[in-house]
């Protein structure tokens, strides 16, 4: 028994040390962002704010990033909703209405999830310029929806595959067709999956950088591009930058804190085979 207590204590020490490593960046971000400018010094970087908490950094950071946070929101919300609807339809068809070659179609769609977007970037830019959606948010929404088809389809397909076919057979006897079964049986059952996909797409698009930096011009930059730009300029004080970084990360952090269960499911769906 004493041996057990000993090993458990050892485990806790290791876990707490590791937890400290994982929390270090967040701790530094919080610490610095609440300090006034005269306390931001290399030497005292790890010291606690001595003269109370200062929120003016957040106001300054928000002033820097407000238009970009707005851009990100305008992009992410329609993107998450539309791509979940599309994914739900695709997932339903590929899980419950298999035709010859439907597995091949699914695999070909799935491959799109893995490609490095650098390999399609030149045609994409030229295409977006040609259809006059280059440089602005609607074009970015379209691109995120299309390249989101693989993952959203995968998550919904795996979810629907787990719903018993007997349920659909019962509906068929009542005379419902393909669309009726979706509307009256599958769709009402899909709420958990919609939560997973909407949260996943929201997080992905909010954090995405490559499409954002290539496809938008400065006045339409989403928050990741603006943050990277802010960090690269030498004019910004560290406490303001840390406050801005925290603001930029806040939406996805909040989603993780309050809806972590669904976030985790999306994570696993992207990794495990159906």
């Amino acid at each position: 028994m004493t041996r057990r207590i000993l090993t458990h204590t050892l485990f806790y020490i290791i876990l707490i040390a590791l937890a400290a490593f994982y929390l270090l960046p967040i701790y530094l971000m919080l610490l610095t962002s609440f300090k006034p400018i005269n306390e931001v010094d290399l030497k005292t970087m790890w010291a606690l704010p001595l003269n109370g908490l200062h929120i003016e950094n957040f106001i300054a950071g928000y002033k820097q990033l407000a238009p970009n946070i707005n851009n990100s929101l305008m992009m992410v919300i329609p993107e998450a909703i539309l791509s979940s609807l599309l994914g739900s339809l695709n997932g339903y068809l590929l899980a419950k209405w298999k035709f010859r070659g439907s597995n091949l179609v699914f695999s070909l769609i799935l491959f799109g999830m893995f490609i490095p977007y650098q390999s399609i970037l030149i045609p994409l830019v030229k295409f977006m310029q040609a259809i006059k959606l280059y440089g602005d948010i609607p074009g970015l929404i379209l691109v995120h929806i299309i390249y989101g088809i693989p993952i959203t389809t995968l998550i919904f397909r795996n979810y629907y595959a787990g719903i018993e076919t007997e349920l659909l057979d019962a509906g068929k006897i009542d005379g419902a067709g393909l669309m009726g079964l979706y509307r009256y049986i599958m769709f009402p059952l899909s709420a958990p999956s919609f939560a997973v996909v909407i949260i996943w797409q929201f997080t992905q698009a909010w954090n995405e950088f490559l499409f954002a930096v290539i496809l938008t011009n400065q006045s339409h930059w989403p928050v990741t591009v603006a943050l990277n730009n802010l960090a690269g300029s030498q004019l910004v004080q560290w406490n303001v930058l840390m406050a801005a970084t925290l603001l930029a990360a806040l939406p996805t952090l909040l989603v993780y804190l309050f809806l972590g269960r669904y976030f985790l499911r999306g994570l696993m769906a992207g990794a495990l085979k159906g």
Binding site: I14, W46, I109, T252
Partner: protein, 358 residues
């Protein structure tokens, strides 16, 4: 194929209305352009019109009661989108990579594999990229697997506060690579002497002077090795979650049986759990590997495009959009795709085969 047909008058009327509306939308928007709040949304308008039109067609098809045809018709928009934006664009990129397009005006003059040849033969920067990607990939995958498995084993011991620890290890996954690169760039500040700061300052205060390092500013090639730290920080929790999922699916009876047979906890892991976790390791290697082969934003935020920390993803970006060398940029993009495809395609094929057997 269309033997059965049930005429449903309301549905037919709705279908005709939608087809007509879609056609009118396409025609007027095509003629007049659609401008909303200063944005030219003509193509979005045309797309919406097209989808309205197509919904009408779907309604007509649905009256034939052939579910296979209806299913394919409903999948068609997504299939077309993926066919164009994934496969069509890959083909287009390959074509650009076989040309000598340099400068803003497209030039599709065929030069064969010249771009690839020059990347591998007289391009020191690309050699740095390959070495950096290799170093990053090995460090990142090993770091995530070892730390992820270790964390999963620790949390497998049914300790109190498991959920809290799990949450702490997983949260970095929700932050963008850009934000984490900004913060880690500060933590891994290379300044020494009286400008010492960040983690180095902690080391100095603790008297661990030998650990003070230049981090990712270490001269080539080893600076790249330090970029692994923030990447592992972000994704080791994810690897942990994968392993925990794998361990959950191993039944307790199996462990109990081994215990009855006198196996120690260590032997249970060594002979029962680790072998059963091999498929999880394979998926983890594939997921993490494809991420590291296309790593981009983290390195941008950390290294600010320094050559010593260059990777193909950044090289493709600068050579194409700053240097307007489209042909070479396309070649780099295609090579990135090939490296990812070598890793992923066998896995996808395997996946498809096992599904068909079921």
């Amino acid at each position: 194929m269309f033997r059965k047909f049930t005429l449903r008058v309301p549905r037919l009327l709705l279908a005709l209305a939608l087809i007509l509306l879609g056609a009118v939308c396409i025609f007027t928007i095509g003629k007049l352009q659609l401008i909303i709040t200063g944005r030219n949304l003509t193509s979005i308008g045309l797309l919406a019109g097209g989808l309205i039109f197509y919904t009408g067609i779907i309604l007509v098809i649905s009256m034939f009661e052939n579910e296979t045809v209806l299913s394919i018709a409903l999948l068609l928009p997504s299939m077309v989108a993926v066919a164009i934006f994934v496969y069509g664009f890959i083909g287009w990129s390959v074509r650009v990579s076989l040309s000598k397009w340099k400068g803003l005006n497209p030039d599709f003059t065929w030069v064969g594999l010249k771009q690839y040849y020059s990347l591998f033969h007289d391009n020191p920067r690309f050699m740095i990229d390959i070495r950096n990607t290799g170093m990053f990939t090995v460090g990142f995958i090993l770091g995530c697997l070892i730390l992820g498995l270790g964390l999963a084993i620790l949390l497998d011991q049914r300790l109190k506060g498991e959920a809290l620890f799990r949450g702490i290890f997983l949260f970095p996954m929700s932050i963008s690579f850009i934000a984490s690169g900004v913060v880690w760039g500060w933590l891994m500040n290379p300044a020494t002497g009286n400008r010492i700061t960040g983690i180095n300052l902690i080391f100095q205060t603790l008297g661990l002077k030998s650990l003070i390092s230049l981090w990712h500013s270490t001269p080539m090639p080893w600076g790249m090795a330090f970029t692994v730290i923030p990447a592992v920080w972000q994704l080791s929790g994810f690897t942990m979650a994968l392993y925990m999922g794998g361990m959950r699916s191993i039944s307790d009876d199996l462990r109990e049986a081994a215990r009855v047979d006198g196996a120690s906890e260590f032997q249970i892991y060594r002979y029962i759990i680790f072998p059963l976790l091999q498929p999880v390791t394979l998926s983890a290697v594939i997921i993490l590997g494809h991420m590291s082969l296309k790593i981009f934003d983290l390195i941008v935020a950390l290294g600010n495009k320094a050559i010593s920390l260059d990777v193909p993803g950044i090289y493709m970006w600068t050579t194409t959009f700053d240097g307007t060398n489209y042909a070479q940029g396309a070649a780099i993009g295609v090579l990135m795709l090939v490296s990812v495809a070598i890793l992923v395609v066998p896995y996808l094929i395997q996946n498809m085969r096992t599904e068909i057997q079921l």
